[in-house]
């Protein structure tokens, strides 16, 4: 069984936020408002943090792009009282929106802060695109028709793309990748099977120094960062 993971090369990331916006487009995530941003309530399935270190004149800024880490020992899975979020066999931590009761315990439990609560209903014509570009038409509709107010959501490694790709027999990580990986202009993000020694991600992890965020909490995340 494949185990999906993502490798993000911090050397190549320029902080353009293309991954953030591509994810929002692919999964129809609503935008926030100025008030929501002040209250830190705006939904982002992928965040890019600019971390600066050093004092003037030797200052360094690093961009750390954080999707859901899809941890093997995910704290959000353990604490959910309704068993709405669960760990799929192929490594993706996924959520059944119909079971979620909106208690937000998982948001408290997540050490990375990548989960978002839907405080509002999505507007009808949020992102109205009468002109679908040709390569979207064959992907079909996102399995969840409209987001519901009162549930928690997060990045899903675009499982709809992966499942459809596996059905059609395409190679995941090469032909079929999540939206953020596809959008990255510098090629800093890579997706693939961590258990396959021939995949690009395994090769990079073996040849370059990598780290994961908050390793000391033993959550075993599936997103690796390569040193810059």
């Amino acid at each position: 069984m494949a185990k999906w993971g993502m490798v993000i090369d911090l050397d190549k990331c320029v902080g353009c936020q293309a991954c953030t916006i591509a994810c929002k487009e692919e999964n129809s995530v609503p935008h926030g408002s100025p008030d929501e941003q002040r209250q830190r309530r705006e939904p982002y399935w992928n965040r890019v943090l600019a971390v600066s270190e050093g004092e003037y004149p030797t200052v360094r800024v690093e961009f750390i792009s954080m999707p859901c880490m899809h941890c093997e020992e995910a704290p959000c899975v353990t604490v959910c009282p309704a068993k709405a979020t669960y760990h799929r066999e192929d490594g993706i931590v996924i959520q059944d929106f119909r079971r979620c009761i909106g208690c937000r315990y998982c948001i408290v439990a997540c050490p990375y802060g990548v989960r978002n609560f839907n405080f509002k209903d999505q507007l009808e014509k949020e992102y109205h695109r009468p002109d679908l570009p040709p390569n979207r038409a064959d992907r079909g509709p996102w399995p969840f028709p409209r987001r519901v107010r009162g549930v928690v959501e997060k990045c899903t490694f675009c499982f709809h793309r992966i499942d459809k790709g596996l059905e059609e027999g395409k190679k995941i990580g090469v032909d079929v990748v999540p939206a953020c990986v596809e959008a990255c202009p510098t090629g800093a993000r890579l997706f693939g099977d961590l258990e396959d020694p021939e995949s690009e991600v395994s090769y990079l992890l073996a040849s370059r120094g990598s780290f994961r965020l908050r390793e000391a909490l033993h959550t075993q995340p599936s997103v690796f960062y390569l040193h810059s």
Partner: protein, 249 residues
């Protein structure tokens, strides 16, 4: 090819409008053809005959031959010039007897607007990533992460060096007035390590006057307080030489 219905080409319409406006606008459109077809004839008249152009549809100049410097050197002496005779000619025609040494490569001291005593800091305006292709402020997804390097959106900041902010008594995210000899604007301060102590920085692109559903009342426009100044040798406008002072609101 005949035009559809009652339409004319855009070039014809521009000529017509210029003529109706009169004055200096109309006079700058005089003698260059009077219409779409006339303009093309005027531009290509001495290069290729009109009938030949209609038949071929295109004019190709001669290919560049390597080493043929007579074709590309437009200097009066035909050689590479350190003392630019072209520039000297233009200066004599327009400015009279100027400083002849200006035509040599030289260092020109910057003329700041505002004196250093009252306005100690220099304002630098920059275009952040989402402004480069002109204005993504009306798209909510783009607006909410407008300041890409800071991870905030829905506004822009005046970015100050941390030590300087300490001297001025300004904390991060506090509202401050940015005043120049030409006006003042109120902005939110962002205290950073990555700024030069004598420079403050502000992103353009916010502070729209016109309505827009997502860009209304968001941010401030630093161009409101920048002075108008030109480089007297090249004629280009300079944007980065306004001095400002920053104080708490």
């Amino acid at each position: 090819m005949e035009p559809l219905y009652d339409t004319r080409s855009i070039t014809d319409i521009i000529f017509e409008i210029a003529g109706r406006l009169g004055g200096t606008v109309a006079s700058s459109f005089n003698g260059i053809g009077g219409g779409a077809e006339g303009f093309v004839k005027y531009r290509t008249g001495d290069i290729i005959p009109w009938d030949e152009l209609k038949e071929k549809g295109v004019w190709l100049g001669p290919a560049y031959q390597y080493g043929n410097y007579d074709g590309i050197f437009n200097t009066p002496s035909g050689k590479f010039e350190f003392y630019s005779a072209n520039l000297a000619g233009v200066l004599e025609k327009t400015a009279g007897a100027g400083n002849r040494l200006d035509c040599l490569p030289h260092y020109q001291e910057v003329e700041f607007l505002g004196d250093e005593g009252s306005y100690p800091l220099t304002l630098l305006t920059y275009q952040p990533l989402l402004n480069v292709e002109n204005g993504h402020q009306n798209y909510p997804w783009a607006q909410e992460l407008y300041m890409v390097m800071h991870g905030f959106g829905w506004g822009n900041f005046i970015e100050i060096n941390k030590e300087k902010a300490g001297e001025l008594g300004i904390r991060d995210r506090q509202m401050v007035w940015v005043e120049s000899p030409f006006g003042r604007i109120k902005a939110r301060a962002r205290v950073l390590e990555g700024m030069h102590p004598e420079v403050v920085c502000m992103a353009t692109g916010q502070g729209h006057y016109a309505e827009g559903q997502w860009q209304k009342d968001i941010g401030v426009n630093p161009n409101d307080i920048i002075g108008v100044s030109y480089d007297h040798l090249s004629g280009q406008s300079s944007f980065f030489n306004t001095r400002v002072k920053v104080y708490r609101a």
